[in-house]
């Protein structure tokens, strides 16, 4: 069960939790990435996410396939939000259920770390006095 979604409506941790549930599960790790209210002490008003959709989905699927291959984590949901997000809203959820907890922790950490490196999604931070595309410049 690999479930990959890119959505412009609020994400649900409960939905992801249920998607990966199976009778053989001994542990479920759910990572929830939320919009923080500041960056380096500067107040963030909101975030805007945009994606190159077909490739974002195929790159997220690749991550899930690797998790399945490497940790036998074949129950994985990766949901990412696009559009305008307010402080506290959920930007990403990664849920992994496995027979033993260690594989779920490792696969989940691999998935979020790799997502941040390879998936073509961009985040713009909107401050009170300007805006910046995150990570664009060295």
């Amino acid at each position: 069960m690999i479930d990959i979604q890119l959505k412009d409506v609020p994400l649900s941790t409960e939905e992801c939790n249920q998607l990966v549930a199976f009778a053989g599960a001994g542990g479920t790790v759910v990572f929830v990435g939320t919009v923080r209210d500041q960056t380096k002490g500067k107040k963030v008003v909101r975030l805007e996410f945009e994606a190159y959709k077909p490739m974002a989905i195929s790159e997220m699927r690749k991550i899930a396939e690797v998790a399945k291959e490497k940790w036998s984590a074949d129950k994985i949901a990766i949901h990412h939000r696009v559009g305008v997000l307010d402080i506290g809203e959920i930007a990403v959820i990664i849920a992994v259920a496995t027979p033993h907890r260690k594989a779920a922790f490792e696969a989940c950490e691999y998935a979020i770390d790799t997502l941040k490196e390879t998936v073509p999604i961009w985040k713009k931070e909107i401050f009170e006095d300007g805006e910046v595309w995150v990570a664009a410049h060295p």
Partner: protein, 97 residues
């Protein structure tokens, strides 16, 4: 075909230029001032030569931490050859999650 005809065909092949539709996301959109634009490239251009031409046309690309090119929905190395029917996308540093 005589020798002259063959020469013409070869010449045509080497000097043919193709119009490539390029999509831009994130900061790349700000740099090129739009979400898509057309660039004329010599036939058999590679991802590497496209990147060089982008930097020459829009010097702001050189100020980015990095940028990649996707062709037909996958990252491609500099030696990958671009064809005129390809979907070419500029991928500035990603920041999802």
């Amino acid at each position: 075909m005589n020798a002259f005809g063959k020469y013409l065909i070869i010449a045509n092949y080497y000097f043919y230029e193709m119009d490539i539709e390029i999509l831009a996301f994130g900061i790349a959109k700000d740099i090129v001032n739009g979400s898509s634009f057309t660039m004329q490239l010599p036939a058999e251009s590679t991802v590497g030569s496209l990147k060089a031409q982008l930097c020459a046309t829009y010097p702001d690309f050189e100020r980015l931490a990095s940028f990649a090119i996707a062709v037909n929905e996958a990252y491609r190395q500099d030696d990958y050859t671009i064809s005129d029917k390809d979907e070419v996308v500029i991928i500035p540093p990603v920041s999802g999650g």
